[in-house]
């Protein structure tokens, strides 16, 4: 029966398209693993993970990745200090307080904030925020961690807000009504009843935001600098893992060399970090869904 065979062929073609996503994941893992493996044949893992100097492009190179990790962590921490409280406040407000017409205005604004390309945010951080901050902190350098950190926080705020809001809206209204009936104010209900009830969903949102900050590239590539530095100061130039990959890609590093392989090694580290964070976030979200459905 020809039509029947055609159906089978079509189903196979559709299946292959779906399997492409599995191939993509496999491709990522294989590409990163192969090059990282080659890298680790030249640079011992211990040196890579515990060394405190990262100068792979110098005449006498050092391959300690801690400065890059420190840079990533510092910028992400600043971003989270902005995005988490503001995002949660925004979510509480939208979920528990805001009247419908206000929501209809605020939500698109947040969506726009989330949709601005990161290169634009990078420009904004370098050209507007840094000079502004330098007036407050004259010791701040032109490239630093504070400015991109703050801008990144604003960029991630909508993500935290919308995910936390979803979590809070999933909390049954019966819980709220019980609190109101006991004379609690909106704030008390929100903070003492709804947020704790939605905690695993909110935590999942936070973890996803961290993952997003860790993987962010252009804002830091433009505004944070290219000097790997093991530091806790938000006022000096540094380099994140992502910005390093960009730096090497822009240059003329020939393929197949050790320097070239460093971007894959750093990339592998980045992938593992974000993968672990995403996994944690998904697990928490599943648990939250089970609680409330």
């Amino acid at each position: 029966m020809r039509p029947r065979r055609l159906e089978r062929v079509i189903e196979l073609a559709l299946l292959l398209s779906a399997v492409l996503s599995v191939l993509t994941t496999a491709g990522i893992i294989i590409v990163l693993a192969v090059e990282t493996f080659e890298f680790l044949r030249a640079v011992p893992l211990v040196e890579f993970l515990t060394g405190t100097e990262w100068t792979p492009l110098f005449a006498s190179p050092r391959f300690g990745v801690l400065p890059l990790i420190a840079g990533t962590v510092l910028v992400s921490a600043i971003a989270m200090a902005v995005a988490l409280p503001m995002g949660l406040l925004s979510a509480i407000y939208l979920s528990e307080y805001a009247p419908e017409p206000l929501r209809r205005v605020v939500k698109p604004v947040l969506e726009i904030l989330a949709g601005v390309p990161t290169v634009v945010y990078g420009y904004f951080a370098l050209m507007f925020v840094t000079p502004l901050l330098q007036r407050v902190f004259p010791q701040m350098a032109g490239f630093n961690a504070l400015s991109p950190g703050i801008v990144m926080g604003i960029m991630i705020l909508p993500l935290v807000s919308s995910l936390a809001e979803d979590a809070m809206r999933a909390v049954p209204s019966g819980l709220r009504e019980g609190a109101y009936a006991l004379g609690a104010t909106k704030m008390q209900t929100a903070l003492q009843v709804v947020v704790p009830a939605a905690l695993s969903g909110i935590t999942a949102a936070f973890i996803l935001a961290v993952s997003r900050a860790v993987g962010e590239t252009m804002i830091v590539a433009i505004a944070a600098g290219q000097q790997p530095r093991l530091t806790a100061s938000p006022f000096v130039p540094l380099e994140t893992m992502t910005a390093y990959i960009v730096q090497v890609s822009l240059g003329d590093t020939p393929q197949g060399t050790l320097e070239y392989r460093t971007i894959f090694a750093v990339g592998m580290l980045l992938f593992l970090m974000t993968f672990a964070l995403n996994l944690a976030s998904t697990w928490l979200r599943e648990r939250f869904r089970e609680e409330y459905s």
């Binding site: 398209s17 779906a18 996503s21 990522i28 726009i112 420009y123 507007f128 909106k186 993987g215 890609s249």
Partner: protein, 280 residues
């Protein structure tokens, strides 16, 4: 006392939203102030140059268009096909669940990792070199999870009764999907595609990684040609120390934002038509 705390909280929360709003406004105004002066027809039609006053954005704009068109041509059929499989054929099988988990994970992978993937697989292994094609393939993989997700949602809105009516007439599964389900889902699919493309057009990191050049003074002349795109050109200008180049960067940003505005407006228009169609 309770009232005061409640009020303070409300003020704090409103303040948060105001800060977000002000930031957005500051961003737009700042870019406008810096770049509006440079914006002109000449800017749009000139190629790159070492002198900021002569440097235009044509080559980057052309590169962006080339890349986005091919990305769409790749992501649309693959994404729709995958979504059809997951939504209509594979429900609840273990393979389908595994694929779904993969897609959810891929949606959260940083875009620069896709760049490394593209570098290893498309540029080197498949020998595409630093071409438009390699860039488009990379961006297509990046866009795929969103296209798949929004297509599945569009498919889900097609009522079961239409599928049943089709099967009862002796139609096969594919006939039902092709003739009845897809036509109804098309507006939703296109909306999702446009939204994912509007994200792709602002992507910088993965294309830098696969080797889109930051100084390339000509528009692409084919899919195997080297290229650059709008956000990379902006990045390049912002990285130059001369103040004049910063104006170019701001002007470039205005062009990029205008492009995004148009694409999102198209998506909203489609979504409205979609809803109106559903109501009739």
């Amino acid at each position: 006392m309770k009232r005061r705390a409640d009020l303070a909280f409300r003020v704090l929360a409103t303040g948060t939203l105001i800060v977000a709003l002000i930031t957005l406004a500051a961003l737009v105004l700042d870019v406008l102030a810096d770049g509006a002066g440079r914006l002109s027809w000449r800017f749009l039609t000139s190629l790159a140059s070492r002198r900021p006053e002569d440097a235009g954005i044509y080559h980057a704009l052309a590169g962006s268009v080339w890349v986005i068109v091919i990305t769409a041509a790749l992501a649309l059929p693959l994404g729709v096909a995958a979504a059809i499989y997951l939504e209509e054929y594979g429900t609840n099988s273990r393979l389908a669940r595994f694929i779904e988990i993969n897609i959810a994970n891929l949606a959260a992978v940083p875009s620069i990792i896709y760049g490394l993937l593209g570098l290893g697989v498309f540029v080197r292994f498949m020998g595409m070199g630093r071409s438009v094609m390699a860039g488009a393939c990379t961006l297509a993989l990046l866009a795929l999870p969103v296209v798949i997700l929004s297509t599945r949602e569009a498919l889900r809105t097609v009522p079961k009764s239409i599928r049943e009516g089709s099967y009862a007439l002796g139609a096969t599964k594919w006939q039902t999907i092709w003739h009845q389900v897809l036509p109804v889902a098309v507006p939703g699919i296109l909306t999702g595609l446009i939204l994912s493309l509007s994200r792709a057009i602002g992507e910088t990191a993965p294309l830098i990684t696969i080797g889109a050049l930051t100084y390339i003074p000509f528009a692409p002349d084919g899919v195997w040609s080297p290229f650059t795109v709008l956000p990379i050109q902006i990045f390049n200008w912002v990285s130059r120390p001369q103040a004049a180049f910063k104006e170019n960067a701001a002007a470039g940003i205005l062009v990029l934002l205008a492009l995004l505005l148009m694409m999102n407006a198209a998506a909203v228009f489609l979504r409205d038509r979609f809803q109106r169609q559903g109501r009739s």
